[in-house]
């Protein structure tokens, strides 16, 4: 899927056509395989959730393609704010959508029977099982997510990504991987959705908020390779920081709100809050106790 990224850093405009076609092609293939898997799944057991999960996955792939299209890359390379927007979209839009698509099962089902069997054997093996168990420990996932996102914004690595296409591809792949992984934790049907999910989302957003604050208030350009050092560099950096801080914050806030509502709905299903009415009529209780009661 990342084949198209190889065009990153391409100087001459004409050369983006090939990679664009390649990227779209790969994306289309992935979607096709996924949809085939879902079709089989629905034949086997009609489960309503797959109807909307399909849309989520397709939308996720579409968003991914849109922000990674080779013609986008030169723009991103020139503009710090655009670059940060790209990162935010990868982490906060594409990743949750893809995770909502829950593609594990459909991909598995799309495989030929023999392969499926082999995958199942590998999945069931002890070390793999333990590894997968470890991969669902929330604190670990949040920590890795935070570490990866922060690390790629250290000036050293950031500059490297700007100068080397391979590093940049790795960066995007890393974002996508940790984002997908993290959001699977929160959105997978197997996950017990509760208030903790909100904490995880807030915690995973912290590094971006912090970075946003630093970029907003820093008095000098911190990434000369991206912005240069001129007077506009500072404004550009502030805009980039603010984009990471406020709009990204709003997106994750909305996601949190949805999580809370879903959680309350789940609770309501399991143990209905019930809405009894107080005893009817104008309540006789609402009055001050009488003298007699005082004496009694």
């Amino acid at each position: 899927m990342h084949g198209g990224l190889l065009a990153h850093g391409a100087a001459e405009p004409g050369s983006t056509l090939g990679p664009t076609v390649a990227l779209v092609g790969v994306a289309a293939a992935v979607v096709a395989v996924y949809l085939a898997g879902v079709a089989r799944l629905r034949d086997a057991s009609p489960c309503s959730s797959w109807s909307w999960r399909r849309y989520a996955f397709v939308a996720g792939v579409a968003v991914l393609v849109a922000v990674l299209l080779p013609p986008v890359e030169p723009v991103v390379e020139d503009s710090f704010p655009a670059h940060m927007t790209q990162h935010v979209v990868l982490l906060l839009v594409a990743a949750p959508l893809l995770a909502l698509g829950a593609p594990g099962l459909p991909f598995l089902l799309a495989l030929p029977r023999r392969w499926r069997h082999r995958v199942a054997v590998v999945r069931a093996a002890g070390p793999v099982r333990r590894g997968r168990a470890l991969a669902t420990v929330p604190v670990l996932v949040v920590a890795v997510h935070a570490a990866v996102v922060s690390a790629w914004h250290l000036p050293v690595l950031y500059d490297a990504a700007l100068t080397s296409t391979a590093v940049h591809v790795t960066e995007h792949a890393a974002f996508l991987a940790v984002g997908w992984w993290f959001w699977s934790l929160v959105t997978l049907p197997t996950a017990q959705l509760d208030g903790r999910a909100v904490l995880y989302v807030v915690a995973s957003g912290l590094p971006m908020n912090l970075l946003g604050a630093v970029l907003t208030f820093a008095p000098r350009p911190l990434y000369p390779a991206q912005t240069g050092t001129g007077p506009d560099a500072l404004t550009e950096q502030q805009l980039a920081g603010l984009l990471m801080w406020v709009p990204a914050g709003v997106v994750s806030l909305v996601l949190c709100a949805v999580l809370v509502l879903l959680w309350l709905r789940r609770l309501e299903r399991e143990s209905p809050a019930g809405v009894p009415l107080p005893p009817p009529g104008v309540p006789a209780e609402i009055r001050v106790a009488t003298r007699e009661e005082v004496q009694r």
């Binding site: 709003v250 709100a257 809050a273 107080p278 106790a289």
Partner: protein
Amino acid sequence: MTTLEERKAAEAAVGEQLEPIWEESGGLRGWFTTVDHKKIGRRYMVTAGLFFTVAGLEAVVMRTQLARAQLDVVSPDLYNQLFTLHGTTMIFFFATPMLFGFGNYLFPLMLGARDMAFPRLNAFGYWAFASAGLLMTSSLLFGAAPNGGWFAYVPLNEEQYLPGAGMDVYSLGLLLLGISTTVGGINFIVTALTMRAPGMSLNRVPVFVWALVVTSFMVVFALPPLNVANLMLFLDRRYGFHFFDPSAGGDPILWQHLFWLFGHPDVYIIVLPALGIVSAIVPTFSRRPIAAYPLIVLATIGTGVISFGVWVHHMFATGLPQLSLSFFSAASLIVTIPSGIQYFSWLMTIVLGRLVVRTPMLWILGFLVVFVAGGVTGVMFAVVPFDQQTTDSYFIVAHFHYVLFGGAVFPIVAGIYYWFGKFTGRMLSEKLGRWSFWLVFVGFNATFFPMHVVGLLGMPRRNYTYQSGLGWDGLNLVETIGAYVLTVGLALTLFNIARALRSGPAAPENPWGGDTLEWATASPPQDYNFPVVPTVHSLHPMWDEKTLATMVRDEDDPERTLTDGKQALRTSDLDGVPEHVVELPEETVVPLVTAGGLFVATLALVLGAPVVAASGGLLTVVGLVVWHWPRAARQEAQEAQEAQA
């Protein structure tokens, strides 16, 4: 139908067994050793009420000074002490402790628990709060009150510009209080997570509890920046450190960031629990379940989260990059949306229900009127150009009094009228309550509404006097008269309280037909709150036949009566499934000693005696060790014995 008589009969039998276990010693000894959340909660409220009275009188003196231009009632320096202390006391020593007092008293009752999760920590929190408040308030008597503004901007508050002990009292007093508030908040969270009655899943938790839990989470995250800033300020002032000293690499804006990183959430730390009180009272007097419960919960959580992102709007005039202002303006606008949701939830509850107006509801209606005005001006301050014009003028004084007096004091007074019967066993007079309300309502608006105008006319805040002929004179006089009316109105409620305590009619168990579990207890509640721990089946347990029935049905169930010792039921954090029985601590003097050590340390640092301070710290450490000394083995031996028997 389970009648009240049936329940009483069932409870009396169990109560007999519980009484000797839960009874605390009386008299002076009991006063210092109690760990009962009800006594501590009442104490919080009384102490905070005392600070409110003092800070209110300070405000009256200030209004007197400002009645006419160029008056000489107080000196400029005394005026500066008064406004600093007024702000600091109202924000830190009245609003939050008062609401924590409500919380302490009501939390276990609303949750159907026997006490807070950490009763000793509760006592410690009170003693730390009371001593910090004593330090702060009494400093005025020694002429050493803080005089650099409750926001304590640097470099003004560096030793160089404001020598003397005033700002040391401020920084250390707030540090001590910060410890108290933090442990209080942690106690609320843990209590709400682990001590709820069986069956009380999170969607059956009263909104008031939600509000205080969100508040507590905000405390946990918002107080550290303030505490750190105060530590830095103290070190700067007393030991020549340079955190905020621009001549040695420090930065004055750092203080503003740290302070407002706390300060903006603090607005909601004050208002959210008060809104929780509103959400508790409105359904009772609307005779209907609260409308849109999930949305109101979401709004409460949302307010808490968003409020951390908007501190910069207190700094619109400091010359931050224009670009960033536009973003923070947007963030500040967003924070009003959750309040809108809560507001319309109350309105819909009233509209769809059958409103019965009694004094508590009257105060709530007053709140609904006043709070909306504060909300509208709040939106105005998110508009950068407007903020840059009106910030630090009397307009903002008007705004935050509408938000804080309107949003916190009105609900607090409503809460006092609502729960007074539960707190004391006596009912307040309706008639006096109504008089008090109307006087306060008129006085409040007469005091603070003209401030909008005078602010727009260019009068800056924190001025001990003003020049005549600028168009401010008449309005200031109206404000001062309003302040007197307001004072009389509040004094009437105080009188009402005093009268009721002496000769008020006895309070029935559930005088208002309320919906939450505190109304299932006696007025005032027994030491053990609930003889039979209820099993909760709905959001409004007292209106719910099934829940009421469990309090009779489980009369013989040892898991609901817990008569083996001073025990409480621990339930699972999300679903309220019983998990374990926890032993609660007996009364003890350790929290007092531990807090006392901290107080000695604080006082000694203010007075410049580090050795004494160190010994105070040592006392605290010793107290902590004694407090946490593992007693498990003793318990286990006991259990083994019991098992054999």
